[in-house]
């Protein structure tokens, strides 16, 4: 009996290894193609000479990217918008989450419910009225307008996630601080926040990547080069149905780096944090 079990175990192990290999190829080949394209000269990208592996690797596409396109401007705009969104969401989220986790007041449940509900309402439902709103407030083509729009989904998520985490901070520590004459805000800043660093990391990661990666709002609310972010800037490498694949893949590779690096740095907490809702219960 044990012998057959270990036999099937071994079988499953090898099936597992095989499938893992297939999945790795399926996952990584697109990235290979992206990088290979960005390192080719045009002759190798198009037409009958097209190659699977760059025969004469060159950085020409990158040179073109930096010298002839507003790529750096897009990077700057994305950075401004993503960093601001993250900072504001963190502050709003911490304050709101503390109230929901620790204070008693009427409407607490309703507000918590409203937050989750809000987080789940998809942007593709809101972009049309938001566009009308932004036009009316002359926020079209401004950094502020885009940051504001992003807060609509980052703040509810941050507040909800932090609320769950703040509750896990032992009440006794906070009471000790309050006994020592700390105000509520003081207790939040000196006691609760330092103990919630993993949750803050998740929330910061989430806000930053959401803002950096967002496309729909950025596409609809922004037209000028001065404000355009990187995700929508990428699509401008398509001119009248002609694709400039070399520089575009170079730009795609470079602009995927920030969220990727942030993810690698934070991954330990991110996986825990983002699955929090799903794993519990």
């Amino acid at each position: 009996m044990p012998r057959t079990t270990s036999g099937t175990r071994l079988l499953f192990r090898w099936i597992g290894n095989g499938l893992l290999l297939v999945m790795l190829v399926w996952t990584l080949v697109p990235f290979y193609w992206m990088m290979a394209t960005s390192l080719k000269a045009d002759q190798e990208i198009y037409g009958f000479e097209a190659t699977l592996v760059p025969h004469h690797p060159t950085l020409a596409a990158y040179v073109r990217l930096f010298q002839q396109t507003p790529f750096m401007k897009y990077v700057r705009n994305s950075t401004i918008i993503a960093v601001s969104t993250t900072a504001v969401s963190l502050v709003f989220g911490c304050l709101g989450a503390y109230a929901l986790a620790r204070l008693r007041f009427r409407g607490r449940r309703l507000i918590a419910r409203g937050l989750v509900f809000t987080y789940l309402v998809p942007p593709s439902l809101l972009f049309i009225p938001l566009f009308a709103m932004m036009s009316a407030l002359s926020l079209v083509d401004t950094h502020q307008g885009l940051i504001l729009a992003y807060l609509g989904f980052t703040v509810p998520f941050c507040t909800w996630l932090l609320m769950g985490y703040f509750r896990s901070v032992p009440l006794e520590l906070e009471e000790a601080a309050l006994v020592d004459g700390c105000t509520r805000l003081g207790a939040l800043i000196r006691v609760v926040l330092p103990m919630s660093l993993p949750a803050l990391a998740v929330v910061a990661f989430f806000s930053f990547t959401q803002a950096w990666n967002e496309f729909l709002y950025a596409n609809v609310f922004v037209n000028s080069v001065e404000v355009r972010t990187i995700t929508t800037g990428l699509t401008l490498f398509i001119v009248e149905d002609v694709f400039f694949w070399g520089p575009m893949m170079g730009a795609a590779f470079l602009s995927a780096l920030p969220p990727l690096v942030v993810y690698l740095v934070f991954q330990r907490w991110v996986v825990k944090g983002l699955t929090l809702g799903a794993v519990k219960g």
Partner: protein, 320 residues
């Protein structure tokens, strides 16, 4: 390892707290009214965001959908005319069918692949964390980049796929992946699955690792086969995670227009037209904001059921 966030443990019951502490707490805490006032003040920014950036736009979407409003011009109230026009439109019904197929197939494939990957990564193996990290990468890069990259892979003349198939000798003809009415939807779904599977893997893997090993060991001793262990231990333990993940992902999949926008623009012959993209094209392509709002709202009833169910689930998991 459920991340130590269980509210039942962490938000201690008043009755369980020793009396002296309780007395001190009462003495220290502000009066109820002060506490409420402070709470509203702290919540004000978040509330303004919810009301101003989600609730108000939502209501104004409903109002917009009752108007004939071109971009940049005042609207004219037309009642339900937009909806009436929509329900007479053949494209609308095709969009309904497409959206259902797109979402159902996409979500099912992500589920199957995600579960498979989670089970594989849960096996003991050297360098598992490296593999896990690599498999999660599609999820971390912007969707636009994923979609653009795949558009380039599918390119007729110089894309990777045709290039590769011809090199290996699997085909001699050029295949128009995204322009062929029979292939386009499949290709779009493939990209959706490529990008979305890691989220499933991630949640399922976290769930698997939370199952106590002893359960499997006991089953092993009782002579239960691997398949039986899966059916009787793994599946019941993951049921809640399955539900939450599928519901979240259904909302996200059905409402994401970036894949279609970049890969096919709804073509060929509306074969890949889905709701969010139709709303986008109507509002910004045809510049009919009112009609665009009507399109996205026509799809909302289905979504709202999911959103309400999911809100309840997500709250019951963190609320006291």
């Amino acid at each position: 390892m459920t991340s130590g966030l269980d509210p039942a443990v962490l938000y201690p019951d008043e009755r369980a707290v020793p009396t002296p502490v309780l007395r001190a707490r009462r003495r220290l805490s502000l009066t109820r009214r002060h506490e409420a006032r402070l709470a509203y003040a702290l919540l004000l920014p978040a509330l303004l965001v919810i009301l101003g950036l989600v609730a108000y736009p939502f209501v104004s979407a409903v109002y917009l959908s009752l108007q004939n409003k071109p971009v940049g011009a005042p609207g004219r109230f037309v009642g339900l005319a937009n909806y009436a026009e929509l329900f007479r439109d053949e494209v609308f019904f095709q969009t309904v069918r497409n959206t259902i197929v797109y979402t159902a197939v996409g979500v099912s494939l992500k589920f199957v692949l995600g579960l498979t990957m989670a089970l594989i990564l849960d096996q003991e193996r050297r360098f598992n964390n490296v593999f896990r990290m690599l498999l999660f990468v599609p999820w971390a890069v912007p969707v636009v980049i994923a979609a653009l990259n795949w558009r380039w892979i599918f390119d007729d003349l110089s894309g990777f796929l045709n290039n590769f198939l011809i090199t290996v000798g699997l085909t001699r003809d050029i295949i128009s992946w995204l322009a062929d009415p029979r292939l386009a939807m499949g290709c779009v779904i493939a990209v959706v699955v490529w990008q979305g599977t890691p989220f499933y893997t991630m949640t399922f893997l976290a769930g698997l690792q939370a199952i106590p090993r002893e359960l499997y060991e006991a089953a092993e001793i009782d002579g239960a086969s691997v398949v039986r262990q899966f059916v009787h231990i793994t599946v019941p333990r993951l049921r809640t995670i399955f539900l939450t993940t599928v519901m979240l992902s259904t909302i996200w999949t059905a409402t994401n227009l970036q894949f279609v926008l970049i890969l096919t623009r709804g073509g060929p012959a509306n074969r890949t037209e889905i709701f969010p993209h139709l709303a986008y094209v109507t509002a910004l392509g045809a510049r009919r904001l009112g009609m665009g709002a009507a399109v996205s709202l026509a799809f909302f009833p289905l979504l709202v059921i999911l959103i309400i169910l999911l809100t309840r689930r997500m709250l019951s998991q963190t609320d006291d």
